[in-house]
Amino acid sequence: MIRNITLGQYYPAKSRIHALDPRVKLFATFIFLISLFVNDSFTGYIFIIACFGMVIRVSRVPLGYMIRGLKGIIFIMCFSVIINIFITEGQVLLSFWIFKITLEGLIRAAYFAIRLILLILGSSLMTYTTTPNSLTDGLEKSLGFLTYLRVPVHDFATMIGIALRFIPVLSEEADRIIKAQEARGADFTQGNLMKRVKGMIPLIIPLLISAFRRAEDLALALDARCYNKEKWRTKLHPLKYSRADVAAYILLLLYLGTVIASKYAFEYMGFV
């Protein structure tokens, strides 16, 4: 049920990836996303998947656990893959009525699917290995320069941190409300779409109310401890780079360099 959302949750384990500075992991995610969009060759994907696979291995997050997190996006993925198959012009393989499937369409759809899956796995690996608190710290520090442009970086970082922190709380709450309503004979799994949407009301309303109540309590608790956004808030655990972090930065730059260089090398050799 709802509690099975694994996407974006912290996965407690002791690994080198978990121990990295959150800024490195944010940077790594960014680099990974760039590499996905830069690359457009099959060989390139093999290289990217191999590197990513190694990182997952080192992170000690079970692969099955990560893949389960993909369940939620299956619908969007199928949808965009199918669209891609049909709308791409090119060498026609198969055609019926007004639809035609082209070779280019299939290739593009496959690339699209790989890209999307890697994109989601890549960003979720960051949240699996970084606690919401350190993620927020990392974001705040990495984007700190924007403060000079009057962007309220600290506020945004706090908001994101709170949002991430409350995902498990609310999903647990949703689970409890579902059970309570099921005990009253409610059925969330049967009926047509309209009936099911209507059937969600007994879940949505109590959940919203509890979210508001929690927000109010949290605001009060923050206030009671004199939380404010004074410029010079200090940290209990200030972020400090270690040697491993520096090494990770170097590896990341090497990785991005390889992906970009190989792209131009292939183009030059006329591969693509």
Partner: protein
């Protein structure tokens, strides 16, 4: 009110089997519950109380063992789970958080409506349930969110009572209420049992509340540590203390007084204790 019998036969349940989050819910529980009787389930946090309650209502299906309602296996393929839901009413902890309708009466109608009663029947059942829990007629058309905490709780309990269960299962029904609200809930449960012949199963952290039950079930780490009449169970003072549990006030007091050299017989509740003390005082 229907007279029913619910049997848990060698039931086990494990959360998240095969992952790092694997935890034991319940191990080899053999229990039987009947209408007209009252049961108290006690145990430390995480001892499996909530799991047990959810198994009784079919919200969880056992990994091992069977749950039988009047001899029928409720997890058999052909069994209609709504039959169990209408026979064994489950009231969760803080049930007021499940209220969602615009009016009190509509909210209480939700359960019977799901069971397929006609709108007129629903209304009748809802009114009856609300009367039972002591909500006055002028509140029926009010927004449930405007009621007091104790009233909200009673409306939520009415929501389950309106389904006419033969056994009512409650997870800490008095938690978080003021003494008056608590008293109202406990006397409601007593009425339900005496006049409606309903079976009551209650999880409680308060040993004085638990001592009123016909049978006390003590859980520890998912297993049944002790089971029997309240008198039998609470005699095991050392055993209970080892499980992080207490005994009712009167028994605790008796022990303390004895250790100070006052000669007292075994006293189970406040009445017995006061009688024994009066006797000594008069002597």
């Amino acid at each position: 009110m229907k007279t029913i019998k619910l049997v848990l036969e060698n039931v086990s349940y494990v959360y998240n089997p095969g992952t790092i989050y694997e935890t034991v819910g319940i191990t080899d529980a053999d229990l039987s519950f009947e209408s007209e009787k009252s049961y108290a389930v006690i145990g430390h946090t995480g001892s499996g109380k909530s799991t047990l309650l959810q198994l009784m209502n079919g919200l969880l299906s056992p990994a091992k063992g069977r749950v039988l309602l009047d001899g029928e296996d409720v997890h058999a393929k052909k069994y209609k789970i709504k039959k169990l839901r209408s026979s064994v009413g489950l009231v969760f902890q803080y049930p007021e958080y499940q209220l969602f309708e615009e009016t009190v009466i509509k909210d209480v109608c939700f359960g019977p409506k799901n069971l397929g009663y006609t709108p007129e029947e629903c209304l009748e059942l809802a009114k009856e349930a609300l009367r039972l829990v002591g909500i006055e007629e002028d509140k029926f058309d009010q927004n449930p969110f405007n009621l007091s905490g104790g009233q909200k709780r009673r409306v939520a309990i009415a929501g389950v009572l309106a389904m006419n269960p033969g056994i009512l299962v409650l997870d800490e029904p008095a938690a978080g209420l003021d003494p008056e609200g608590k008293e109202q809930i406990l006397s409601l449960l007593k009425t339900l049992r005496e006049t409606k012949k309903m079976g009551i199963v209650m999880v409680s952290h308060n040993m004085d509340d638990a001592s009123g039950a016909d049978e006390v079930i003590v859980l520890d780490k998912g297993s049944i540590a002790l089971k029997g009449s309240a008198r039998e169970v609470f005699k095991e003072y050392e055993r209970l203390a080892g499980l992080g549990l207490d005994v009712p006030f009167a028994m605790r007091m008796t022990r303390l007084l004895r250790s100070r050299g006052i000669d007292l017989p075994d006293c189970f509740d406040n009445e017995e204790l006061s009688k024994a003390l009066l006797k000594i005082y008069k002597r």
